[in-house]
Symmetry: C2
């Protein structure tokens, strides 16, 4: 982003035109100072969008991603998890800044030195949770003298509850089952403790929704090592009853990844059949309303007084744009961070989790305000703990 | 059974040495006037039993069964359902009387004319339900001037309830799923009405067990056409909660018999995988206690007064003999009917459901008394309806 380029429009490439990538690209394309390209294997099948270039591209090889990245000033990643790491490395190799929401198994910070050497800023986990949950946690922590406890509750849900699962997934059921089986890492008294997934259910009250049930999932990720609070916990929210059914399915073996002999010796991976059966039942119908709910609690002390900073999010499907709540709450943070990268307001070479933004109060304020403009409103409450 | 043979022992062949067949054979072998052979494909692997001849035999062909039957005076059938019909026909071809508990899809009475022509008596469904439920229903009906309603509640359960299914099966889970999916035929106002399986759950109280949950299953069979009562219903009993889980599994498709494409196009029959996963969880451990509970209600009128005749059964695993309640309650009626056939006390050529015995009060009394001697006690109550 040299000074000589300041007056031309910035070029942004969005990798992956799925539900969320398409919303990110459409949001960026509304900005007249940006030239936005959405790259996807099946771009030819996508409906044209104003001010947006669709490019059909195979995003499964590092070389293809590197070449695409080199045509842009900023890259946004919204790829399936199996391409997440590969894309991050290719974008760094292209020496381009990157706002990413593609999940990856490995710690993206393994590529921190490579990004620093390339002089590029990469923000990963740039969605709602992980994403906004990280930013808000770190932002709140900064405002207290001492922090004791972080508790994050988050869930994406259908607005209408239907028997028996009262759940639909904004992504593949196979990945949901992963969330329901992978042991959850939480921080207790400063030590990482492993909890069983789906464990420690607790009822939480949310205005307009009534009781939701929160349970342990492995969601803290970078928040396990970037914060200084002895107690840290993230729980996933579902309508009450859902997790009991998931515990039954898991107990019975329907989430197992080891093949089982059935009938005449056929080898079947139970989780694959379960995904095939539940996929049609857990997929949102076109126009079906979803919602996102998140509560971030940071408990600590300020000027010798116990304090709690609480953030609340309740976001709904937008019938006007047809954008799901999940795509809005996950996509907008990535789109806004991409703008920060494009403008140069965010320039900090390396690979960073989103809480890195919290060192700059202006960036946090902008992230919150820009989402509020889009109808995704984070409300803040300052109160006494357990208030 | 010619007169010249009267003083020699009667020979009984039991077809099938499974859980129930073995108990039938052992029970018959205790009678010094009988010479008992237990025929099974894997007889070589079975432990020897006193006064019992074990014979290894392939029971999957009519010829093999006919030859075996011809060595006997009376035959008892305790075969897997796929061999039920074939065995009945072969035993009739051998011109031998038959007490059978092998389930078969078709109506066994299709072979009634053949049995009449051969001059042999065949009693099918000779267990607890169908079996004793039929006998007691018809026996009670006979004692009233007019019958309005028959209600049968019956279930086999583990004594210890364990999360999440609170159920174990005395037979293959695949057959249980059949019971949970096959539409249930009931009689309402004199018309056969089809109900969804697992439908119309109702809580019933049983002394010593508390609440059980009863739901529609297709269990009436011959009772749909042999009785004259406008209302007829059989419901299966489980611990509360079980059927909700089964409804969920069925709704999600886990009981489907149509193959589903999973992963890379592999075709999988969901019910087969579900049976493979649940089989180990639903199988009784050696020595694990089961129980059987049955309630038969016959409502009607006698001498112008509304009357209810109620039979109650509660039977438990016998730790002394190691016989499960299911094998006792199902096997003893067959063994006792086999004795009636052997002695000639029951001689009525044709193929009959067990309620045919109810025309003879002495046979019913003997059936009840002989089971009571074995610890399987049917208690009778005469009371006002809804009493």
């Amino acid at each position: 982003m040299s000074a000589s380029r300041e007056h031309r429009n910035k070029r942004v490439v969005v990798l992956g035109g799925g539900l969320i990538g398409a919303v990110i690209a459409a949001d960026l394309a509304e900005d007249p100072t940006l030239e936005v390209t959405l790259a996807d294997l099946r771009a030819d099948e996508m409906a044209p969008m104003p001010q947006l270039t669709l490019r059909a591209a195979d995003l499964s090889t590092p070389q293809a991603i590197k070449e695409l990245a080199e045509t842009a000033d900023v890259v946004v990643g919204a790829l399936p998890s199996r391409f997440g790491r590969l894309a991050l490395e290719a974008v760094i190799a292209a020496k381009r800044p990157y706002a990413d929401i593609s999940f990856m198994e490995q710690d993206p910070r393994e590529l921190d030195a490579m990004a620093k050497a390339a002089g590029v800023t990469c923000i990963y986990d740039c969605g709602v949770a992980p994403g906004m949950s990280n930013v808000l946690s770190a932002h709140a922590a900064k405002q207290l003298d001492r922090c004791e406890r972080l508790t994050i509750y988050v869930g994406g849900l259908p607005r209408e509850r239907r028997w028996p699962f009262e759940y639909k997934a904004g992504f593949a059921p196979y990945d949901v089952f992963e969330e329901y089986t992978r042991p959850a890492r939480v921080m207790i008294d400063g030590e990482v403790v492993i909890k069983e997934a789906l464990s420690e259910p607790e009822l939480c009250d949310f205005d307009g929704l009534g009781h939701l049930e929160a349970f342990n999932t492995d969601g803290l990720r970078s928040l396990l090592d970037t914060l200084e609070m002895p107690q840290r916990l993230e729980k996933t929210l579902r309508y009450p009853g859902h997790i009991e059914l998931m515990r039954v399915l898991r107990h019975a073996g329907f989430f197992d990844e080891q093949p089982v002999s059935v009938g005449d010796g056929q080898q079947v991976v139970p989780r694959e059949l379960t995904a095939a059966l539940l996929s049609p039942k857990w997929t949102f119908e076109p126009g079906e309303a979803d919602l996102t709910v998140m509560r971030v609690l940071v408990d600590g002390e300020k000027d010798g007084v116990a304090r709690r900073i609480r953030f609340e999010l309740r976001d709904d499907y937008d019938p006007r744009t047809g954008r799901t709540s999940m795509s809005r709450t996950t996509g907008y943070p990535a789109a806004i961070v991409a703008r920060m990268l494009a403008s140069g307001r965010l320039h900090r070479p390396g690979v960073h989790p989103p809480e890195a933004l919290a060192t700059d109060d202006d960036l946090v304020a902008e992230l919150i305000a820009a989402q509020a403009e889009r109808g995704v409103v984070y409300r803040r409450f300052d109160e006494a703990p357990e208030g």
